[in-house]
């Protein structure tokens, strides 16, 4: 199960990530918050390494949230 262990966390350049992605998502990270944001990103990267260490069946990528299409009643369909 343990493949790719700590690859993301070790390779992560938090400053580069903040600089590149903050503009992309339109959320500024002011300098005074950068150190703590970087710390939280580093923790997240360790978590990402853990979820990537799981060997999932390569044929499937089943996400936990299930979307169930809402069923319309006959009256609603005829009214539309």
């Amino acid at each position: 199960m343990k493949k790719n262990n700590l690859a993301l966390a070790e390779a992560l350049d938090t400053n580069a990530l903040i600089d590149s992605v903050s503009g992309l998502v339109g959320i500024e990270v002011p300098d005074q918050h950068r150190e703590m944001v970087a710390m939280h990103l580093q923790i997240a990267a360790k978590m990402a390494d853990l979820v990537h260490s799981v060997e999932l069946d390569s044929r499937f990528f089943e996400l936990a949230p299930v979307f169930t299409p809402q069923e319309l009643t006959e009256g609603e369909i005829l009214d539309s």
Partner: protein, 473 residues
């Protein structure tokens, strides 16, 4: 003859079941009980900071109505006269839903109550106030920069736990016989553990979240905190019912748990969570788990494989979904956040989508691993928190020799079970090792079997293993 409020001192820590029974017997009037509860709450709240708002006029009006119904021979429901509070992310008609934030002060007042508030009041209970919480539920401590720390009734210098901090503090202090909280990663179970209460996080999708301010849609649960297992069951039974307004709510029949409480533990198979849940470095948590395991005769240690990965999945999902929810706030009102949540929301907003998607796939995988464990056991016993309530202001926790941030890690043992939506009842224990402070143990049941964990909680209470006690205030 209906007693006056000044004779109600003995009722300060009464359970909901006792209150309801006494009111039905007309030992006292609902208005007298509610007035006494409000007076005590007004006296204690300046120190505890458990209530963010008390609803005296509304509660007294409702109490008067209930007395009139009782006098006329009517039956207002199984929770008649029971005062309760709700975490301030539940909508209350005429109030702003703060969700522990400064930013939400600018929202309009709510047009109606949250659905679970309506259901409790339909059962005869009386909403008396909104309860403090960590900002936007992103918290396990009970601390809040905008509104101050919510304090633990067992030691005012210690954390109440969060994010349902006011729910834990008020119910432990005897100023809310019942309270409702929310639990995304442990926010009912952590304050239950630190304040010495029974807490129920039902199965994901069991209770509709209609009319509550969200945190993380994939993981948000609602549930009760109480002073007894029976109160949890009474409350849970009336809270259930499908509602299509919450897309996550499952269309399941109501599971009546109260009548099953006395079935005991005979025939149930127990296992103790090992591996990730090992408590070798947490002596109080270890002693608590051992005491429960010995009482029910649990000898089997479960590997709980995949838990680190499952917990990591919950962590990443929380980061991503909560940050997406608050994107506009992060752009427009960044400095109005509590600094402890702001930096985590900012980091979450920068997290790659591939991490989130992988986490959602691993979450399903982790569920399969734990469901395997339920082939050999009916209840998994696990610690609720690694330690008793830390001192307010503590920032770090030592885990396996490593200093880690306290705020996310008080939920170290709760987060894996909410990640896969399992029903969990937390029971309070009082051990010499705890130095006068309580600690909780989680009783984890298979999906949709809240009846099992409530049965065990009730049995432990009857055996004197777990109980809610009365702090001196």
């Amino acid at each position: 003859m209906i007693a006056k409020a000044d004779s109600l001192q003995v009722e300060e820590f009464a359970t909901a079941a006792r209150i309801s029974r006494d009111i039905r017997a007309r030992k006292y009037a609902v208005v007298d009980l509610v007035a006494a509860t409000l007076e005590r709450a007004e006296r204690l709240n300046p120190e505890l900071n458990a209530y963010s708002c008390l609803l005296r006029d509304r509660a007294m009006r409702r109490a008067t109505q209930l007395d009139q119904i009782l006098t006329a021979g009517g039956d207002p429901g199984p929770l008649v006269g029971v005062p309760f509070g709700v975490k301030n992310l539940f909508d209350i008609q005429g109030q702003v839903t703060l969700a522990g934030s400064k930013i939400n002060r600018d929202l309009s007042v709510s047009a109606k109550d949250a659905l679970l508030v309506e259901r409790l009041e339909s059962a005869g209970a009386i909403l008396i106030g909104a309860l403090s919480m960590g900002e936007y539920a992103y918290d396990f401590t009970g601390e809040n920069e905008h509104y101050g720390a919510c304090r633990n009734p067992w030691d005012l210098q210690r954390m109440s736990g969060g994010s349902s901090s006011g729910s834990g503090s008020a119910t432990a202090a005897g100023i809310a016989p019942l309270s409702l909280g929310s639990d995304t990663n442990g926010s009912i179970r952590v304050p239950s553990s630190l304040c010495g209460l029974f807490g129920l996080k039902p199965t994901y999708g069991r209770l509709p979240r209609t009319g509550t301010y969200p945190f993380c849609d994939s993981l948000d649960h609602l549930g009760p905190l109480a002073r007894s297992a029976r109160d949890l069951a009474l409350c849970f039974d009336v809270l259930q019912g499908y509602d299509s307004n919450d897309p996550a709510c499952a269309d399941k029949p109501v599971l009546t748990t109260t009548q099953q409480l006395q079935q005991g533990v005979e025939g149930l198979r127990f296992g103790v969570a090992g591996g990730y849940f090992d408590t070798a470095n947490f002596p109080v948590a270890a002693a608590a788990v051992q005491q429960v395991a010995s009482a029910v005769g649990a000898g089997k240690i479960l590997d709980m494989q995949g838990t680190s990965e499952g917990r990591a999945a919950a962590y990443l999902i929380t980061n991503a979904e909560s940050s997406a929810l608050h994107r506009d706030h992060l752009i427009e009102r960044l400095e109005d956040f509590d600094s402890d949540t702001r930096d985590r929301f900012l980091a979450g907003s920068l997290q790659p989508a591939s991490w989130y998607l992988r986490a959602q796939a691993v979450r399903r995988w982790y569920q399969e691993q734990v469901l395997e464990e339920f082939k050999s056991v009916d209840i998994i016993i696990a610690p609720a928190t690694p330690c008793v309530a830390p001192k307010i202001g503590s920032k770090w926790l030592e885990i396996n020799g490593e200093q880690v941030p306290l705020r996310p890690n008080l939920g170290l043992f709760t987060q894996p079970f909410s990640a896969i939506g399992l029903p969990v009842c937390t029971v309070p224990l009082w051990l010499d090792e705890g130095g006068g402070m309580p600690i909780g143990v989680q009783l984890v049941a298979p999906p949709w079997r809240e009846d099992l964990c409530l049965r065990v909680a009730y049995w432990l209470e009857k055996q004197g293993i777990a109980d809610s006690r009365r702090p001196s205030l």
